[in-house]
């Protein structure tokens, strides 16, 4: 038997209470090692989609499986990176990164070792004793990323993690994220509003439409890894950015109209 599919949506619909569907007819399967970018107009349910995978919110219809199991059962396999860094302000960088391990009862020596490893990965090895308020926005986000990586997740869910950062910092972190991926290897969903970011990071870009949230198109990004700052200057990259932008615009033009 082949390895289970890391994440699979089968005919998934989601409603909050008696409200209209937020997501409808979602069918999507991530292969091991996929980095899938989710992009679409606001209100298309891309963040909700991540929350379904994380088990933070139950599906209304259909099925989401993580490694062939329900999201709740597979919680140990995945890590979530929120839009804001959401650090505990009273803990140092080291303390924050160790939180997921502490909650799982990992002994202190092992915690410290894992923490040192991931802080090196995000290049914050020298800031372990700093408090969050002493860090820049980009550094806080790196800590948040380290905290997700510390449990060695097989599935990483990133909900617009670099959205609040300036362009330069965001590009640096994009490159670092891909570097970390080379070193650690996980399957990821990445929600973003930036076409450039989606194309640079992902091997698959899923464009979503709103009201109700649904998958409009999927565009494969065949650019080879490792991707570098030079990738952003290549013709293939720029063409793909243009292509995704066109699809996204066509979706946004129809936003608000009722679906057939």
């Amino acid at each position: 038997m082949s390895a289970p599919i890391p994440v699979e949506f089968r005919d998934v619909a989601k409603r909050f209470g008696d409200g209209p569907p937020v997501l409808q007819g979602i069918n999507l399967a991530a292969r091991a090692g996929d980095l899938i970018a989710l992009i679409g107009p606001s209100g298309c349910g891309k963040s909700t989609l991540l929350r379904l995978v994380a088990g933070l919110s139950p599906v209304t219809e259909g099925q989401v499986t993580v490694d062939g199991r329900s999201p709740g059962e597979a919680a140990g396999e995945l890590a979530f990176v929120f839009q804001e860094a959401t650090l505990l302000p009273w803990l140092t960088v080291a303390g924050n990164v160790e939180v997921p391990l502490r909650l799982r009862g990992v002994p202190a020596a092992q915690r410290a070792e894992a923490r040192r490893r991931v802080l090196e990965l995000v290049r914050l090895g020298d800031r372990a004793d700093a408090y969050p308020r002493q860090l820049s926005g980009g550094q806080k986000m790196r800590v948040s990323l380290a905290r997700a990586l510390v449990v060695s997740p097989r599935i990483l869910l990133l909900d617009e993690p670099f959205g609040a950062l300036d362009e330069m910092t965001r590009e640096h972190l994009n490159e670092e994220l891909l570097g970390i991926r080379e070193a650690t290897g996980w399957t990821a969903f990445f929600v973003t509003h930036s076409v450039a970011e989606a194309v640079f990071l992902a091997n698959r870009v899923v464009v979503m439409a709103a009201t109700p949230g649904r998958i409009h198109a999927e565009i494969a990004i065949p650019l080879p890894y490792p991707r570098t700052p030079d990738t952003r200057l290549s013709r293939e990259y720029l063409e793909l950015v243009a292509q995704v932008s066109r699809v996204l615009r066509s979706v946004e033009a129809t936003a608000g109209t009722t679906p057939p």
Binding site: F82, T86, L88, W90, L91, V99, L103, R104, Y131, V151
Partner: protein
């Protein structure tokens, strides 16, 4: 260097100006009415004359205030955790917590005397009642105001309820708790003095500053009465100073309400 010096000089200068105004008012009142406002020097003299009495009374009041304050801290934390469990618990219990706060001390005092007798126990119990409310309201608010994403992070990590309370909700509620604690530390000594006036006793040297104030007033020792008022102030300042120090120790390295020193 200039700032700390100025922050000492300014209140000192204001204090001297205040004493000068006080002295001037005392003189301006004329012979017949001067008893209404004893001169600062006379108050100081009265404080020295009655120092043994005042010190004993202050210690008695401090004992009652600290017992009631400490009890209020312990009970309010426990009750806040209970209240933070669900909005239904809060809805059910809040009216009764407020009812306790709405009843004035002089009304509660005789009830306390019936239950536990006049003196220290009554003073501590009444101080507890008055200090409890700001503590429980603030701490509960803190416990239910945790960042939603942090709660979700803990749930994703499979946190147990006690882990959420000890590692997340508790620390996040600390700034709120200290706000309540500062209010409680201000009103606890006042509560203890008022309680002492209404439920105190002089039996076995047990009288506090409230009791002493009643005695001085009845003896028309107005300068001594002013000295008693000053003693209650000192008591309040002392308790506040301790609370501010503990708050600083707990919060200064991470909370935004404290200035950063690493800029």
């Amino acid at each position: 260097m200039r700032k700390p010096l100025l922050s000492l000089l300014l209140p000192a200068a204001a204090g001297i100006a205040f004493l000068a105004l006080w002295q001037a008012a005392h003189v301006a009142l004329g012979e017949d009415l001067r008893f209404l406002l004893p001169a600062p020097g006379a108050v100081w003299q009265a404080a020295l004359d009655h120092r043994a009495t005042l010190l004993r009374a202050a210690l008695n009041t401090a004992e009652g205030a600290l017992l009631g304050f400490g009890l209020a801290v312990l009970v309010s934390v426990a009750v806040s955790v209970l209240l933070s469990l669900s909005p239904w618990v809060r809805r059910a219990l809040y009216p009764y917590l407020m009812a306790v706060q709405m009843t004035p001390l002089p009304v509660l005092a005789p009830i306390c005397v019936i239950w536990v007798g006049a003196g220290l126990k009554s003073v501590a119990l009444l101080t507890f009642v008055i200090a409890f409310f700001p503590l429980v309201v603030n701490t509960t608010q803190g416990l239910i105001s945790t960042d939603r994403h942090l709660v979700e992070l803990f749930e994703l990590c499979g946190a147990r309820p006690w882990q959420k309370l000890l590692l997340l909700r508790g620390p996040a509620a600390l700034p709120y708790f200290f706000t309540g604690l500062r209010i409680a530390a201000t009103i606890a000594p006042i509560g203890a003095v008022v309680a002492d006036m209404n439920a105190g006793t002089s039996a076995g040297d047990g009288g506090g500053l409230g009791f002493q104030a009643v005695i001085f007033a009845s003896q028309a020792k107005y300068a001594a009465l002013f000295a008693t008022a000053a003693a209650t102030c000192v008591l309040g300042f002392a308790l506040n100073a301790v609370v501010l120090l503990v708050a600083w120790l707990s919060l200064h390295h991470w909370h935004d309400s404290y200035e950063r020193t690493d800029r």
